[in-house]
């Protein structure tokens, strides 16, 4: 048993997958000698050699495009985009090839690959290093979108994403990268993609979040229970697409109230989708309109003020209390 940070847990999962399956290759800017700018791929070049750990030229569109080609050839590439803001440079290849080559070839060419990228704010980064654009990829047919929230599920979900027969966008909350350690088992651990987790049971209201937002969500839940006597059930979504409607519906059917939290912009964000599903499947149980606490529909601000932009436990507590006022 060892206590690992998320970075170390991801590194462990990559090493395990590469050792278990020689089709798994990793590629991206600075992933080799440097071990990635966040050190997620540290030591893998030494272990697996330059044929399987590819330092690429600085061209995201071609990193994804060539990874797709390698997947066509039967390899399982794990392509790192250095920051999620730069997945925009790869939009074309993600949309045109990564997401649709299976369909375009009537499954002759399944694209089993992973695009990893650190996403989200809170680390005092410069422009274009703090975006949360998971909704783009959830909006793209053919992709799966997975976002872990801690070291342990990061390891297990990355292993599952690499094993998955379809292309997976794997967004890593970089604010969590080194924020805390967690017990990670010696044995390889794999979690099923598409399952949400009830991380804290409760009776009065359901709080749904994912990724880096799980920390303020859990903080708010503590606060609500201790200060306000509101019994909060907390769900960690873990997989944006496919989305575990059942777990969400079961919880809200029980509590009757719900607040959804994410740091990405509000319009057409993941919360909008969750709320639509709950309207469709749990309407008769709702005691109050579902609220969302999200980023705003503006560019992610420069870092001196990012703490005000990002949803925090205070704004979540306020939203939950508003929800509780409906009788």
């Amino acid at each position: 048993m060892s206590q690992l940070t998320m970075v170390e847990a991801l590194n462990l999962a990559l090493g395990e997958s590469m050792a278990a399956d020689d089709r798994v290759c990793i590629m991206g800017e600075d992933v080799g000698v440097n071990g990635g700018v966040f050190r997620v791929t540290k030591g893998l070049l030494e272990r697996f050699g330059a044929d399987r750990v590819l330092d690429t030229p600085l061209a995201e569109d071609s990193i994804i495009g060539t990874a797709v080609g390698m997947a066509v050839y039967g390899l399982k590439p794990v392509a790192e985009i250095q920051f999620s803001g730069f997945t925009m440079q790869a939009f074309d290849q993600i949309e045109q090839n990564m997401a649709r080559l299976r369909n375009r070839s009537r499954s002759r060419y399944p694209i089993s690959m992973v695009m990893r990228a650190p996403y989200g704010g809170g680390i005092r980064a410069v422009e274009h290093h703090s975006e949360s654009r998971e909704a783009y990829w959830a909006h793209t047919p053919g992709l799966k979108v997975v976002i872990p929230s801690g070291p342990r599920n990061a390891r297990a979900l990355l292993a599952a994403s690499i094993a998955d027969p379809d292309p997976v966008v794997f967004y890593e909350p970089k604010a969590v990268y080194r924020a805390f350690r967690e017990e990670v088992s010696e044995e390889p651990e794999v979690m099923e993609i598409g399952k949400a987790q009830v991380v804290r049971p409760g009776a009065d209201v359901t709080l749904i979040g994912y990724g880096a937002m799980m920390r303020p969500v859990l903080e708010a839940a503590d606060d609500l229970v201790e200060e306000h006597g509101i019994d909060v059930e907390v769900i960690d979504l873990l997989s944006i697409k496919p989305m575990d409607t059942q777990t969400l519906v079961e919880s809200v059917s029980k509590t009757g109230r719900c607040v959804v939290v994410h740091e990405g912009p509000r319009m057409c964000g993941v919360a909008a989708e969750i709320i639509a599903r709950l309207n469709e499947h749990a309407f008769e149980y709702l005691l109050a309109p579902i609220k969302r606490v999200t980023g705003f529909d503006i560019h992610f601000p420069y870092f001196q003020v990012e703490k005000h932009y990002l949803p925090d436990s205070d704004s979540i507590v306020v939203a939950v209390k508003e929800t509780m006022q409906w009788t």
Partner: protein, 386 residues
């Protein structure tokens, strides 16, 4: 600038710091590096190509020198401030002072400058105040207000994404039949981006008045140029796009001026784009979040210390009796005082204004965003920020 530089003929002075020949696998050696190479001063500051010497008067030479020292001193101060937690992550320009000052020196204020994020020294030359750049890199969005003194574009952190925009500005100049040119720079890593190649092509097709400067500084974070490009002579790319190109010793400020003057004159006279490959070296960290010890050898850095652009120019100026040790010390003191004054002004100005984050997203906030802003202001009030 001096007409000599614009009309000069090809120079054969070698820049030997990068492989110029590339071996194809077996049969033949293709000389992909058949581009003209420019250098005025050698590493000791001796003139090796008098025909390209710009022939500047002494006070202009001193102004150039001060520009480079200002660039370096400011850079060093920023690094110190970053280490003390006063500044965010930034990309030091140490060692690239000649490349930077040499590319903006021949520009007019009415010309447009579209720099990369590593061009802080050049931005100061063009009229950005130091305190403003400090604000910007310390994470205050106020720092991005474009100075009025010259036609500036903000840099983009997203590698290469500014290059088509710069080309578009040049196309606009052409449509309006204006007299200006655009100068844009980017790194060797950026040259791998599709949009950079696409921008070359647009510029060539429309004969847009733009000068592309690739600052080939050896590394893109941990990726050496040899792993970035199949042909490391990046100037050679001009050929494929129909763009005249030249390779220049980027640590030789007079060479840079000769090359960029020629390139700018070319663009201004309606003959279309020009590509300048400045061969230089990123002496310091990629950014303050980087540790170059992981991937590069100290000896390499040592070699380049011997090619310092400022020391080289100092030797030249001394040999011409334009500068002596006393003057060097005095200039450095003056500039240090200037930098410290800017730091002090920055400290006064560095007040976060979180309420402004909505204000520049649209000309007028749509109703739904006014609602979001109200919600946000409420949040600030609860926190006691407003």
């Amino acid at each position: 600038m001096s007409p000599r530089s614009a009309n000069s003929t090809a120079s054969t002075a070698p820049v030997e710091n990068r492989p110029v020949r590339v071996d194809s696998n077996s049969v033949e050696t293709i000389d992909l590096g058949r581009v003209e190479v420019i250098r005025v001063l050698d590493e000791k500051g001796r003139v090796v190509d008098a025909a390209l010497e710009p022939g500047l008067p002494d006070d202009e030479l001193l102004r150039l020198y001060r520009g480079m020292v200002r660039s370096r001193r400011f850079d060093q101060r920023m690094l110190a401030m970053q280490r003390q937690g006063e500044m965010g992550t930034f990309a030091p320009g140490l060692g690239q002072e000649a490349t930077q000052i040499g590319q903006v020196y021949p520009m007019r204020p009415t010309d447009w400058y579209s720099p990369s994020y590593r061009s802080i020294g050049a931005q100061v030359w063009r009229g950005w105040t130091m305190e403003q750049l400090l604000l910007l890199w310390a994470g205050y969005f106020e720092g991005f207000a474009i100075p009025e003194v010259a036609n500036e574009l903000p840099f983009s952190i997203v590698i290469g994404s500014h290059v088509p925009v710069a080309t578009g500005v040049a196309m606009g100049i052409k449509v309006r039949k204006d007299d200006a040119v655009v100068v844009t720079n980017f790194g060797d890593g950026a040259s791998s981006q599709g949009v950079v190649a696409e921008a070359f092509n647009f510029a060539a097709v429309y004969k847009a008045p733009i000068v592309f400067i690739v600052e080939s500084n050896g590394w893109a974070i941990s990726t050496p140029l040899e792993k970035q490009a199949g042909n490391t002579v990046l100037a050679a790319r001009g050929v494929g796009f129909g763009i005249p190109a030249v390779r220049v010793d980027g640590n030789d400020v007079l060479g840079m001026i000769a090359a960029c003057t020629r390139a700018i004159d070319h663009a201004r006279s309606g003959r279309g784009p020009y590509l300048v490959e400045a061969v230089t070296y990123r002496m310091s960290l990629h950014t303050t979040a980087d540790d170059p010890k992981v991937y590069r050898k100290d000896e390499e850095v040592k070699t380049w210390e011997g090619k310092c652009p400022i020391l080289r120019f100092e030797s030249y100026l001394k040999s011409r009796d334009v500068l002596d040790d006393d003057a060097i010390a005095r200039i450095n003191e003056e500039i240090e005082a200037e930098v410290i004054a800017a730091r002090d002004r920055f400290r006064e100005l560095a007040v976060a204004r979180p309420e402004e984050i909505f204000d520049f997203v649209y000309e007028q906030l749509p109703a739904e965003l006014r609602e979001q802003k109200a919600e946000y202001l409420e949040r600030l009030k609860r926190k006691g920020v407003q």
